[in-house]
């Protein structure tokens, strides 16, 4: 009796060839993006921004009593101001220690699970928002494109901080997940410390 598969000898080859991965093309998808989408993706593709956003969100969710509204009301105008200033092109590059330094401070508070006074929290959010805004200078283009790009960045940063904060608040209801948040905080502290060392070495 002949095996059924032997009737089409090329079939396994076709399946295997389909499974062979193609080469990855770094930034291939981002190169074509412009305007709103480009701004939307920018904070997600900048690791320093991701660290600060996650740390801010975790800090927001850890605070007791939970208050998501006020820090976000501080974040939104300061982020808009930072982005608007970045669009003028006066500051081409921000101080290299700023974002890792902010991530280190915020994540240390998360790792220690410290509730800080509202004033200090608002100041931290304002500083972080301005720093992210200044570091998000849009690509040169028409005024409409630039505005759309800045709007995309503004929306995604506010949304992510609020989102991470909400989930952190939900997770904080159980003891083991509170510890999980602290572990993530300690990882961000470790990453920021190493990055600061790299920058110092430069």
């Amino acid at each position: 009796m002949q095996h059924r598969i032997s009737r089409s000898p090329l079939l396994p080859s076709v399946f295997v060839l389909l499974a062979v991965p193609t080469g990855a093309q770094a930034h291939g998808a981002i190169k074509g993006l412009e305007g709103f989408t480009s701004g939307l993706v920018h904070p997600l593709t900048t690791p320093a921004h991701v660290l600060v956003i996650v740390a801010l969100g975790l800090l927001l969710g850890q605070q007791k009593p939970l208050d998501l509204k006020r820090p976000l009301l501080v974040l939104m105008p300061f982020l808009a101001a930072g982005l608007a200033f970045a669009a003028t092109g006066i500051i081409a590059e921000i101080y290299q220690f700023l974002l890792p330094g902010i991530a280190l401070c915020v994540a240390t508070l998360v790792a220690l699970q410290k509730t800080i006074p509202q004033m200090a929290r608002n100041a931290l959010f304002a500083l972080a928002a301005v720093a992210i805004g200044l570091d998000s200078a849009p690509e040169p283009g028409s005024a409409a494109m630039i505005v759309k790009s800045l709007l995309g960045t503004w929306i995604v940063v506010v949304f992510l901080v609020f989102d991470v904060g909400s989930y952190a608040a939900l997770a904080g209801r159980k003891e083991w997940s509170q510890i999980g948040l602290r572990v993530i905080g300690s990882w961000i502290v470790a990453i920021s410390l190493l990055v600061l060392a790299f920058e110092l070495k430069k």
């Binding site: 032997s6 770094a26 690791p47 470790a190 920058e199």
Partner: protein
């Protein structure tokens, strides 16, 4: 019809699709073609793998798992934490990456620390024995022991950093990899909930200590 008993007859050559096989056997013909196809595929060139954001992440992620002496110590931290139970289970893995990053920062900036390799081997011995003997010291003492060794581990990684790597993604990969090693140690350590599991975990401690001895006396 060809007779098998005829010694003068030439055996007919069969094509791959004609190869007969038993019903339960996989025919070789199609698979042979597949293998030949795969052999003809060009390999992707991987020059400068440590560069760029993705390269930096992969380089950092692979670094902590690249040395057995490092791996056993990371797992031992998780095992010991699980053995100590309660807050210690999570405190040690919180302390270790932070202090290790501090040691790494010293290494990156070129600050020399003596006897790094010996201290790393010693960390395997001490942490392994702590697990093997199910030692339960005060939480602060446990954190100090883990923290001191973490500086040496971090320093070794910091000095071996590839210069071409993207610093941010390298650090992210490095810390996540270390954290995952701790988590795997904790997961294994959770076996201590069962009596036989305790024996397994303590035996793991003995094995870790032996690896430490092997590195200290350059047997490994």
């Amino acid at each position: 019809m060809k007779s098998e008993s005829d010694p003068n007859s030439m055996p007919a050559r069969k094509t791959s699709s004609q190869i007969r096989c038993p019903a339960d056997a996989i025919p070789l013909g199609p698979w042979l073609t597949t293998v030949i196809f795969l052999l003809l595929l060009p390999a992707t060139a991987s020059a400068h793998t440590g560069t760029g954001a993705v390269g930096g992440f992969l380089s950092g992620f692979k670094h902590p798992v690249g040395g057995l002496d490092h791996v056993v110590a990371m797992v031992a931290v998780g095992l010991w934490g699980a053995f100590l139970g309660g807050r210690a289970m999570w405190l040690l893995p919180v302390v270790f990456p932070v202090v290790m990053a501090f040691g790494g920062a010293l290494g990156v900036m070129g600050v020399t620390i003596p006897y790094v390799e010996k201290a790393i081997a010693l960390s395997g011995i001490v942490l392994g024995l702590m697990v093997a003997f199910a030692a339960r010291p005060n939480l602060k003492i446990a954190a100090i022991i883990v923290g001191v060794f973490a500086i040496f581990h971090g320093h070794a990684h910091g000095t071996e950093l590839p210069t071409a790597a993207n610093p941010m993604t390298y650090a992210i990969g490095f810390v996540i990899s270390t954290g995952l090693l701790h988590l795997s140690g904790i997961a294994l350590g959770l076996l201590t909930r069962w009596p036989r599991g305790k024996i397994v975990v303590r035996s793991g401690g003995v094995a870790i200590a032996l690896v430490g001895f092997g590195f200290l006396f350059k047997l490994l």
